[in-house]
């Protein structure tokens, strides 16, 4: 149980707000064409030209202020977009708005006017599936290059068609460079190869002097068809190695949990308590490792040179990785979770393993003290980060920001508490919320979350140590082949290191998912970059980018 008082405004609000499917259907009235039932939420089928009306009514009158994800898919007879709605105040309230579009001319109204986050999500849906979103401000490809022919996730897509575009056919890459010859602004390509883009990210920047007039992140350089790959693998074994590779910056177990949670709920698999504790411990270790990297690289962005704090963070992350290696057998690509539990029990001798974790936890306060000495209490860093990259809570919500980015903007939202899974609700820890909305708050938020994670790990270790030897069940009985019923749909999310990592799965009656959609927290968080950095100096834009803590593997999938 979290120590936090139950938020009273939440309970009051929920009482008056429609929660059940029928209540929401009453609210929407004629807008609902028919009803569907998803495993996680009631689904409402609406007409494609009433998307904005439906979503704004749900947002304003029913409190569904978080558009978590947009899933698009092509069926034999139609196209379909699903808007997964939930609420920042009460994550357990969910609703799916299903928007079918005609097969021959898939048009659907854009939700961009209601939720800003729909911008990129719909671009992705257009790019991969081919639904045309009307009234979208800038509907163009997002993950694939502009010259790509066809939409890879549509049914008639020809996988073998060569997509080679010669340089001559391609728009002159330098042409953009000379945009606005007459104006006072300068167009600058930051990335895809730039020291501070944390991977292959291309930020199209328009500068006015040293100040940023406009920013447009250009993503997709690391697109590896992760969704499609998962659709060709079996639920039982083959998908699990891949989540490690989405957010590869050592938050593997958190990603695995996202898939495990969705697939377990889809197949009604129970996870033994003992395995849940191991999962919780492993996941929090991953969170520490991930936050260490985030803090280190953020410092690198601000300090600007290969500095001590980055190496210290790497050194401490290394200790976590060693523990994880002892537990899972790999340093980053763990593949440790299995549906229904984990693959191994703790390594023998157990005492030695516990000792190792305890040593790390004992050293952690001193380490963090050192970080505070080096970073957060440093006046120059404060001057650099306080009140820069400001992201007001309303804007953050509209963009679907989650994780430390949202929590540093004062949004009290953490799936571990709000939509409990694993063993979190049995443990004593707090959700870290900072009110500064700036780069400094995001930094502090991560550093404080490390402390909270340490608290969780401490309790898990205590529990595991005293666990009776004959009750150490690490896996429940799971059939060798899983075939969920045809047309079962589920959207489940967990709190990954970067925010809400959601998985949508539609089963098609086989042992492989019919549609596998990844809601990446980095994808939504990165969208806020333009909002944060307009009018700021280049260094602040770089710092804001660093404070978002994106991993391009997860943005591009």
């Amino acid at each position: 149980m979290s120590l936090e008082e139950p938020r009273d405004q939440g309970t009051d609000a929920v009482a008056t707000k429609p929660t059940t499917g029928d209540e929401i259907a009453d609210l929407l009235g004629d807008l609902v064409v028919s009803r569907e039932e998803h495993v996680n939420a009631p689904g409402f089928v609406i007409r494609p030209d009433t998307v904005q009306e439906t979503l704004s009514r749900l947002r304003d009158e029913a409190g569904f202020d978080h558009l978590s994800c947009v899933t698009a898919e092509e069926y034999e007879d139609r196209y379909e977009s699903i808007y997964h709605l939930t609420s920042y105040d009460d994550r357990t309230r969910e609703a799916s708005v299903v928007v079918p579009a005609a097969k021959d001319d898939p048009r659907s109204q854009s939700a961009d006017a209601v939720f800003r986050t729909a911008d990129w999500h719909e671009r992705e849906a257009y790019d991969l599936v081919g639904i045309d979103y009307e009234e979208h401000p800038d509907l163009k490809r997002i993950l694939l290059p502009d010259t790509w022919q066809g939409h890879p996730m549509s049914l008639d897509y020809d996988q073998d068609r060569p997509q080679v575009v010669t340089l001559k056919e391609w728009e002159n890459p330098l042409a953009d460079d000379h945009r606005e010859n007459e104006g006072d602004t300068m167009y600058l390509n930051i990335g895809p190869h730039h020291p501070a883009t944390h991977g292959v990210l291309h930020v199209k920047t328009v500068l006015d002097g040293e100040q940023v007039a406009d920013v447009e992140p250009d993503i997709g350089y690391l697109h590896r068809c992760e969704e499609q790959m998962c659709q060709t693998k079996t639920y039982r074994h083959q998908i699990m190695p891949y989540p490690d590779r989405w957010d590869y910056a050592s938050s593997g177990l958190l990603n695995e949990w996202a898939y495990a949670r969705a697939a377990e709920d889809l197949n009604d698999i129970e996870v033994p308590e003992y395995a849940q504790i191991i999962r919780t411990m492993g996941a929090e270790l991953c969170r520490i490792a991930s936050h260490m990297l985030a803090v280190g690289t953020f410092a690198l962005d601000v300090y600007g040179d290969f500095t001590a704090i980055f190496m210290y963070a790497m050194r401490d992350r290394e200790i976590v990785q060693n523990i994880l290696e002892d537990l899972t057998g790999q340093r980053m690509m763990f593949n440790y979770f299995r549906l229904g539990g984990v693959v191994w029990d703790l390594p023998e001798p157990r005492d030695e393993f516990f000792e190792k974790i305890r040593d790390f936890l004992d050293d952690l306060p001193g380490t963090l003290e050192e970080y505070h000495d080096l970073i957060s209490s440093n006046e120059i860093l404060q001057v650099r980060t306080i009140d820069t990259g400001v992201l007001p809570p309303e804007v953050a919500k509209s963009y679907g920001a989650t994780g430390p980015v949202a929590r540093a903007s004062g949004i009290d939202y953490d799936l571990r508490r709000d939509d409990p899974y694993g063993y979190y609700d049995e443990l004593d820890w707090d959700v870290v919320v900072e009110d500064g909305c700036d780069n400094y708050s995001r930094l502090l938020c991560r550093m404080r979350e490390v402390e909270e994670s340490a608290k969780i790990i401490q309790q898990c270790v205590d529990l595991l140590e005293d666990w009776p030897e004959d009750e150490r069940t690490i896996q429940s009985n799971v059939p060798r082949t899983l075939r969920p019923e045809d047309d079962t749909e589920i959207y489940r999310a967990v709190e990954a290191a970067k925010g809400e990592l959601g998985i949508y799965i539609r089963a098609d009656g086989t042992d492989k998912p019919g549609r596998f959609k990844i809601r990446s927290p980095c994808f939504s968080n990165l969208q806020t970059l333009a909002e944060m950095s307009q009018g700021e100096y280049i260094p602040d834009m770089i710092a804001s980018l660093g404070s978002l803590d994106i991993v391009l593997g997860e943005v591009d999938r």
Partner: protein, 356 residues
Amino acid sequence: MTAPLQSDTVLLPERIANLLGLSGVLGDVVGGLLGAFLIANLLLVQTAVAGPWAKRKITAAFTDRIAVNRIGPFGLLIIVADAVRLLSKELVVPEHVDRPAWDLGPIVIPFSALLGFAVIPMGSGIHLADPETGLAFAFAAASIASLGLVMMGYASNNKYSLLGGLRAIAANLAYEIPLIITAASVVIFTGSLQMSEIVAAQTEPLLTVAGVTIPQWFAFVNPFAFVLFVVANLAEVGRNPFDIPEAPTEIVAGYQTEYSSVLFVLIYLGEFIHIFLGGAIAATLFLGGPAGPGPESLGFIWFVAKIWAFYFFTQWMRSAIPRLRVDQFLDVGWKGMLVLSFANLVLTAIIVGVIA
């Protein structure tokens, strides 16, 4: 003024000329050239040690790593290996660069810094020239480097380079003035711009504490000016927290983005010599130049120790202090350093006026 350009002290060219038995114009020319050659090589050797080896070792110490240790004792032969590696790399000349400015820029930087060393008394009789305007010459020579930076920034035909070049000018304007004003407060004490005079003025004992004599180094006489000078000097040589013109995470590498191979080496060489020159001026003005315990012939050792201390300090800053944003950097320069340095100058003038 009819004062002689050279003072009475025996300078390095003269010694070399005497040693070779040459006199007159020929002696001046040969002595001067050989002296300059000697000093330049002394500095290049130090730079070679500083760049590929010491910098790595120092940074590694700060970051708990081991660093170069595979080739030779303490990894020292990495210097040779790196020299071969860097010089054998392909020199990439991007299209549309503005030659010859693009080629000249990297040459200007090390040579301007080396030029500054002409007037620095390095102890043990290593002193190339001692004009009456020595201090002004040193600053003037050091500032030529900015010209090189601007040339490189502008000629590279690259937006990052351009931003770096512009930042370099801004940095120079903002911090050169406080630097020189602070140096002027020393001149008030000495009453001379001549380097040898400045060093000589610092040999007097300041006070004796428990049998230890503290010399009248201006760092002890006026510590405030010393701190100001070191801070302004950091900006002048473009080191953290003022490495705005390079700013690797923001503008890639600033003015040097487009350089590779030999030209890249020249730029790095120039930057290191520049740090050493900054250290040399600071040592001469505030730390008694080559003064130190022991016989006078050890002067050069002390001098080298002092400039290396400054070099070490820049590396320490690099590990510990974040970079300022460009506007904050200029704020600190114009609104902070400039005001403080003028205050220091006026106060020093008043104090010296009252005491004298």
